[in-house]
């Protein structure tokens, strides 16, 4: 039930924020802040309340199921495991940041803005939680519409074009996934006679190779576009650079992660054989992404666009790792999802700070800000270093694990991926150089240093990155059982969900009992 609350709180908060604008101008901010804080609180509580997560009797911590469209075997089924818990933490944290960042930036239609913001978050939450493929597609779409509005209404000059592009790319790919989902649904139905969209049921579908291949490509289409992998990336720079800061943060920090999450959650367990066939190509795509993105990032002059291309490059590591099929790589991927969320989000926030002050994103018009805004300089330095994978910061752990893992799978591609790190250095340092070091060509207005609110936003991200870089163990432990779960198919045995049959919705108090039951079930097997 608590899982449902997460979504409900966000959606209700969104509506409330929209309506509340009537009677007080600033109220939407506070409502949004409150609801996101609430969800964040719940998630943190969940995390602390279940050390069981690391035991991994069953990776599933919480489940909730409710029939929705019984005729089609669609059910409103949510489930939480370590992976999704991590993703939720990231989601709500970045959501919080997004709200704080818009505190000053967004001035018109505050209510509607926060409505969209919260609904995006709700959609993302749903994507991370749902265990029913129909519902998954549902949320997958739900998170796009408000995002489209965020870009289209509060974006920069070229927002409409960017919004269209974003919307059409993601929709097109999503529809392909829908086809694949339906294909899977009917194949499973014709095999077992029970037509259902339930994830755990569909896991046991036995697929003919070519069928598996086609369906896999259907899913991949959606996820690779969202990730994005290089031939399909071209929506990303526009969307990221035109969106308002909060939008960019959520795009880079969360929406891209849904693609990675989809790969982990669905593609790997559903199509074990097909993915193995496809792996070398996928890894190749990843490497191409790493290098291509890096080269493009190097040449950009629009700061946000530059950062956007860096995420293309960083996401290359994700797909590289996912298709290495070993625990190091997958853990690396999970870390990458989180740390990239923090570091790139932070860079976008930085771009936002600069834009608020200078009303430009063109780095050719910036320069020498270190002397004027030392605090900002230090903060920027840390984030830039994170994005080039400096040891001691989270991204390093992520990339190193990924590469260690992918090395086991494919040496040469890993070599090229590693070369990507050098390129990362090139573009990252370019940011520092142009923005903070060498004096700017044009005279810039006075540049006030970071305010306390902005420090309040930046500080937790820095701390988080350091923490992830120096003591990532808690995160890795949390992710470990789920990663194992996804990898089962590749350790020989066919995937079969180790989940206790779904009972009535659980409350926090009953978690242990779930464990007990799960354990019992395992014993019975």
């Amino acid at each position: 039930m608590i899982l449902v609350w997460l979504i409900v709180i966000l959606m209700a908060g969104g509506l409330l924020a929209w309506l509340a604008q009537k009677w007080h101008r600033a109220s939407p901010r506070w409502i949004a802040l409150g609801s996101v804080l609430a969800t964040l609180g719940i998630t943190v509580y969940l995390w602390l309340a279940m050390p069981a997560a690391t035991l991994g009797a069953s990776p599933w911590l919480l489940q909730y199921e409710l029939p929705w469209i019984p005729q089609w075997g669609v059910s409103f089924s949510l489930a939480l495991d370590g992976l999704s818990l991590l993703m939720l933490l990231l989601t709500f944290f970045l959501g919080l940041v997004a709200i704080l960042i818009s505190w000053r930036e967004i001035k018109n239609k505050v209510g509607f803005f926060h409505f969209n913001l919260l609904w995006v978050l709700a959609g993302i939450t749903g994507v991370f939680l749902t265990m029913d493929l129909f519902l998954f597609y549902f949320f997958w779409e739900v998170m796009l519409i408000p995002m489209y509005f965020l870009i289209g209404i509060w974006g920069h000059e070229n927002r409409n074009y960017a919004a269209y592009k974003f919307f059409i790319f993601t929709q097109a790919s999503g529809l392909l996934m829908l086809l694949a989902i339906l294909g899977l649904y009917f194949i499973h139905g014709s095999q077992t006679g029970t037509y259902t969209f339930n994830y755990f049921a569909l896991l046991n579908t036995s697929l003919a190779p070519e069928a598996a291949r086609l369906l896999m490509f259907g899913f991949l289409a959606a996820f690779l576009v969202k990730l994005p992998v290089v031939p399909f990336h071209s929506w990303l720079p526009d969307a990221h650079s035109e969106a308002p800061t909060a939008g960019s943060v959520i795009l880079a920090g969360l929406l891209l992660k849904t693609g990675a999450y989809g790969l982990l959650r669905f593609v790997l367990p559903l199509f074990p054989t097909a993915t193995v066939e496809f792996a070398p190509w996928a890894m190749l795509l990843g490497v191409i992404g790493i290098i291509y993105g890096a080269i493009l990032a190097f040449s950009q002059t629009d700061l946000k666009r530059l950062v956007a291309y860096t995420s293309v490059s960083h996401m290359g590591f994700v797909i590289l790792g996912v298709f290495a099929f070993n625990e190091w790589a997958l853990q690396g991927v999970v870390m990458q999802m989180i740390t990239h969320g923090l570091s790139t989000g932070a860079l976008f926030i930085l771009a936002g700070f600069l834009y608020e002050r200078l009303h430009t994103r063109d780095i050719r018009l910036m320069g020498g800000f270190w002397s004027r805004a030392p605090k900002m300089g230090v903060v920027a330095l840390i984030f830039v270093m994170a994005s080039l994978g400096l040891p001691g910061l989270g991204n390093f752990i992520a990339e190193f694990l990924t590469l260690v893992g992918s090395w086991q799978a494919n040496n040469w591609l890993t070599v090229f991926a590693t070369i990507g790190l050098v390129m990362a250095t090139a573009y990252s340092l370019r940011i520092m150089q142009k923005v903070f070091y060498e004096p700017s060509l044009v005279e810039q207005p006075a540049l006030p240093d970071l305010t306390s609110r902005e420090m309040l936003i930046a500080a937790p991200m820095i701390v988080g990155l350091l923490w992830l870089g120096l003591y990532p163990q808690p995160v890795l432990d949390l992710a470990q059982p789920s990663v194992q779960e996804q990898l089962q198919a590749y350790s020989g045995s066919k995937v079969e969900p180790k989940v206790a049959a779904v009972e009535a919705p659980l409350s926090i108090a009953e978690i242990d009992s779930v464990y007990f039951e799960a354990a019992v079930k395992d014993l019975k097997k």
């Binding site: 929705w68 469209i69 019984p70 005729q71 089609w72 018109n108 239609k109 597609y137 549902f138 779409e141 739900v142 519409i145 489209y148 509005f149 289209g152 209404i153 409409n160 919004a163 269209y164 919307f167 059409i168 929709q171 097109a172 529809l175 392909l176 829908l178 086809l179 339906l182 294909g183 649904y185 009917f186």
Partner: protein
């Protein structure tokens, strides 16, 4: 005719009576409100009378009519739609000096025609229903006499409709000549005899397809659609887009199911081509279109294409999908045109892009509703349109119509572009210079606003919890004679 016959024809009779009564009242005393009330009442009564009859088993009135769950559902659907349209029409016509009262008679009559078609199982009744519908429509389209666009639309529709019904009739004649009967069941049994269809029959079917295709405005018989949609008054456009097409579609399904046209690859091929062509032509034509009414016209063409994809499946699920999609499509279309009707003023309908510029900031709720409608047309979740499209795609995948489904997907991507284009326009900041369009007597908008809200709620409701509707459809269709045979 027995009492039972009367009970089962009650909806139609009520409509007829309603039309007559309002005619008399007008002759006695012109009053918009009263006529309006009579119309509404007759629609409601007709709808209520549907519940009087137990459609568990199909009831046939030889040789013309058959009343079963299927027809009951379609009649109900069309009655509700007509009711909603009449609600929207009130405000629309109230602002215009023309003699508004006859409009309602025509509305009732055309609805009657559509209903007749749905329950007919005989060429004669089919033809009569069609003509009642069409003739009423001619005058409805051209109802606003002072607008030359209206007249142009009227004449175009008239000529083309008559032209196409000539084809239809000739086709019927040929079929009749070949089979010697005009009841669907008779034809079915007759052609069951042939192992391969004789030329006469095939030609006949082909020509009938032309007639039906015209009413459904599918490619290549679609050309009239944008002009008529643009020229006709917004509520009438809504009516053409929904009720008239619904009636014809219902008839098409019945007829095709009866004669089991799916056995003949030729016919399937024809419909496949039509479906694909309609999807492409509709979406591509709408792509850069600047006139909202025309955009909706083109989009309706492509939506008929989508419907035909489910039609091609030719099984229970297909019909369910069509029916569900039709419901969603009706709600959406009526809503969309309702919004246009609401924003229109005396001189012209609000059909240009600039009429919608910054609407969200001027009339948030109207804009929100319109956005919902457009998203539903685009098949985005949380709206009925999504479930409908999902239903259709599912049907297609289930029956392995890969090509049509693939094209459907491709087209819904293309479609996105122009739907969100309108949305984007509504979300633009209006420039200060542009004053909001002149409002006439906001008080009279109550009915329209209420209707629109209801529609929006229905849209979301079905989108979020389609179970109830699906149940209704499946239960009602179980009594659909021909489906139960197969």
């Amino acid at each position: 005719m027995s009492v039972n016959d009367f009970i089962h024809l009650m909806p139609l009779l009520i409509l007829t009576v309603g039309a007559l009564v309002s005619m008399l009242v007008i002759s006695a005393w012109r009053n918009h409100k009263i006529i309006y009330v009579i119309t509404a009442v007759s629609f409601v009564a007709a709808f209520a009378s549907l519940f009087e009859q137990h459609v568990a088993a199909p009831y046939t009135i030889e040789p013309l009519f058959v009343m079963d769950g299927f027809s009951a559902f379609y009649i109900g659907l069309m009655l509700v739609t007509a009711l909603l349209i009449s609600m929207l029409s009130y405000a629309y016509f109230e602002q215009r000096e023309e003699r508004k009262e006859e409009y309602y008679i025509l509305l009732i009559l055309s609805t009657l025609g559509a209903c007749v078609m749905v329950i007919s199982k005989h060429f004669a009744s089919f033809f009569l229903g069609l003509e009642i519908l069409s003739v009423a429509l001619y005058s409805l389209i051209a109802y606003l006499r002072t607008r030359e666009r209206s007249d142009e639309a009227g004449i175009k529709y008239l000529i083309l409709a008559a032209f196409s019904s000539a084809f239809l009739l000739f086709g019927m004649a040929l079929v009749y000549a070949a089979t010697g009967t005009m009841t669907f069941t008779g034809i079915a049994t007759a052609i069951a005899a042939f192992d391969r269809l004789p030329l006469l029959l095939i030609t006949g079917f082909g020509m009938m397809i032309i007639g039906i295709g015209f009413k459904l405005s599918v490619v290549p018989f679609h050309m009239w659609t944008p002009d008529v949609y643009e020229g006709a008054p917004a509520p009438v456009t809504a009516f053409i887009a929904t009720v008239s097409k619904g009636g014809v579609l219902g008839l098409l399904i019945r007829f095709f199911m009866e004669v089991d046209g799916f056995r003949y690859p030729t016919l399937v091929l024809i419909f496949t081509i039509i479906a694909i062509a309609s999807m492409f032509a509709g979406n591509l034509l709408a792509l850069m279109q600047q006139n909202v009414k025309r955009i909706l016209a083109y989009s309706s063409i492509s939506h008929l294409g989508y419907l035909l994809v489910a039609f091609l499946a030719g099984n229970q699920m297909g019909v369910e999908a069509i029916t569900f999609y039709l419901v969603a499509y009706f709600i959406t279309t009526v809503g969309a045109f309702g919004v246009i009707a609401m924003l229109s003023d005396k001189d012209r309908d609000a059909e240009r892009m600039e009429d919608f510029k910054g609407l969200l900031w001027r009339r948030p709720w109207t804009a929100a509703i319109f956005t919902a409608m457009l998203l539903s047309l685009a098949g985005i979740p949380l709206t009925a349109g999504f479930v409908g499209k999902f239903y259709i795609i599912a049907t297609g995948v289930n029956t392995q119509l890969w090509l049509p489904v693939a094209i459907l997907v491709l087209n819904s991507v293309i479609g996105l572009y122009y739907y969100i284009k309108i949305i984007a326009v509504m979300f633009q900041q209006p420039e200060a210079a542009m004053e909001p369009r002149r409002q006439l007597r906001p008080s009279i908008y109550v009915a329209s606003m209420g209707t629109l809200t209801v529609l929006a709620l229905l849209l979301i409701g079905i989108g979020v919890y389609p179970t109830a509707l699906i149940n209704l459809i499946t239960t009602l269709l179980n009594t659909f004679t021909t489906l139960t045979l197969r």
